[in-house]
Amino acid sequence: MGRGRHRWLAALACAALLAFSGMAAAELRIEISEGVEKAVPVAIVPFGWEGELSAPADVAGIIAADLARSGRFAPIPVADMLQRPTAGREVDFDDWRILGVEYLVVGRLLPAGEDFTIQFQLFDVLRGRQLLGYRQPARRRLLRATVHRVADMLYEELTGVPGVFGTRIAYVTVSGGPDARHYRLVVADADGENARVLVDSPAPLMSPAWSPDGRKLAYVSFERDHSEIYVQELRSGARQRVSARRGVNSAPAWSPDGRYLALTLSRQDGNLDIYTLELATQLLKRLTRHPAIDTEADWSSDGRWLYFTSDRGGGPQIYRIAADGSGRPERVSFEGSYNARPRVSPAAEQLAVVHNDRGNYRIATIDLRRATLQVLTDGRLDESPSFAPNGETLIYATRQGNRGVLATVTVDGRIRQRITALEGDVREPAWSPFPAN
């Protein structure tokens, strides 16, 4: 007993060291490859700063980059600005109307003891009217994250949809030759900055899944020569092995209340089925019982249903079953010979899936009410779709030449981005929930 406990603590310490090692993080570069034909021209005027040294962050630059990356806005260059007001009363709207700017953001970064206050105003230039004015406190350590939160507020005011600039992306990178592979589980800000390595392993890492509070990741690791599921706290790096049963332990997905993991196990008979695991009690419940492959479940937003892939009908298709295990699975995808890896939209009755489109694997959405399918991407080997928490955008894995890269596409198919790492392959992106306040 005492020995077992000692080992467990050592395991925690090792995981924590790995978490803090955080080096050699794969930096990401994001480019908009296709935007809306008419991105709205906006002006984000450089923020005023009255502190002693130089400003600790380029607030306007970060906001402008966020809005530009959304593809919906086109911030004008600072050099084109005829005036640089930092408060509403200094604004001459005619100077902005001449430039064709529709919306204007001005503000100041103010010292507040050790920390800061971001004071900003958003104006409708045509009407000469303030749409939003706010003073946002910002901890020094979290200044950049807080600026993303300001961009989220601006985005929501202008589009009616919550912004996701303050969210994060988890992904897996693979580098090194066949005999010296490095699999890394990385978490970065949605703009690709601030990448941190959470796990670094010579054996495959798979299927990162965010807890609903955004504080933990579940993932699959082969570090002990077979698949096992771990749950790791982001902040401390402490982790726990939650499933190391005989056979396959895979495809973790958190219930919306964070109490359960859906997972795929093969147990003794080697047959993959869907289970739920109550994390606090380790109580395991089997939901499907079929000789076919049943795997990669995801929960409906209300927690009542699990959508999953099954090839019980021949090829892989999407089915759903009640999360309490009652009733029989019912099929929900009907178009095409291959639909797999369902992810439930947080915003609509919609699934994202991997769909075989005439021999190409592409990301598609399925409208659950009308049972219609829409193909969104045009790659050959697209996979692993994950919804942004506002449901507006999907991130997925694709190829650029022989390299694995990430890409995003809006669910209306209009705006696309490509995200490449500076080295190696990137795969299995998982978009975080909204940050907790």
Binding site: P204, F222, D225, S227, S243, V248, S250, A251, T295
Partner: protein
């Protein structure tokens, strides 16, 4: 600059090695593990040269002999599959029968069946395909005289391709089960 970076990598490797050794040691009292004694051998997986155990040889119906067991050639420890299929092709039946005879004759021998898929489609579904292929091989070996405690399976899905590349040839070489004798 570079040397600092290399030092960091070296430290990380040491750290990982320490962690790997540590977690291996805790396997025995793993609360959630169903891995019993025989599985502990999997922690020391290796396909090194044979020592002591004589290599079995078998005679095929077609007259050509195949060598099974740990000293079988790499080619005789690989089973390839068709796209989206876990059916063992006719051509491998005699090879697997020879491995089964080796296992029956060497009760202490342990064989790990590593199932793989090609890169197309969903990663988790491919874990399923790899497991199903490993199980198909396992079932044939059991039918022909190997015993259950000699066999273990693992699926790597598309995570450990034998060949890099995105064409039919690479895909066909990656849809496989590897027979890995444990020491």
């Amino acid at each position: 600059m570079y040397s600092i970076k290399h030092l960091g990598v070296a430290l990380l490797i040491l750290l990982l090695a320490g962690c790997a050794g540590q977690s291996g040691g805790s396997q025995g009292d793993d609360l959630f593990g169903e891995y019993g004694g025989e599985e502990a051998a999997a922690a020391t997986a290796g396909t090194g040269a044979d020592e002591g155990i004589p290599a079995g040889s078998a005679f095929g119906e077609g007259g050509e002999s195949v060598v099974a067991g740990p000293s079988a050639s790499a080619e005789n420890r690989l089973i390839y599959f068709d796209f989206d299929s876990s059916e063992v092709r006719e051509q491998y039946r005699e090879l697997l029968a020879a491995h089964a005879r080796y296992l029956a004759a060497n009760p202490a021998a342990r064989l790990r069946l590593e199932g793989h898929a090609d890169e197309r489609g969903s990663r988790e579904y491919n874990i399923g395909l790899g497991e199903r292929r490993a199980q198909a091989v396992r079932n044939l070996l059991l039918l022909q005289g190997a015993s259950a405690e000699q066999l273990s399976t693992v699926s790597y899905g598309e995570e450990r391709p034998a060949v890099l590349g995105s064409d039919e040839e690479a895909w066909s070489l990656n849809r496989r089960v590897e027979l890995v004798y444990q020491r």
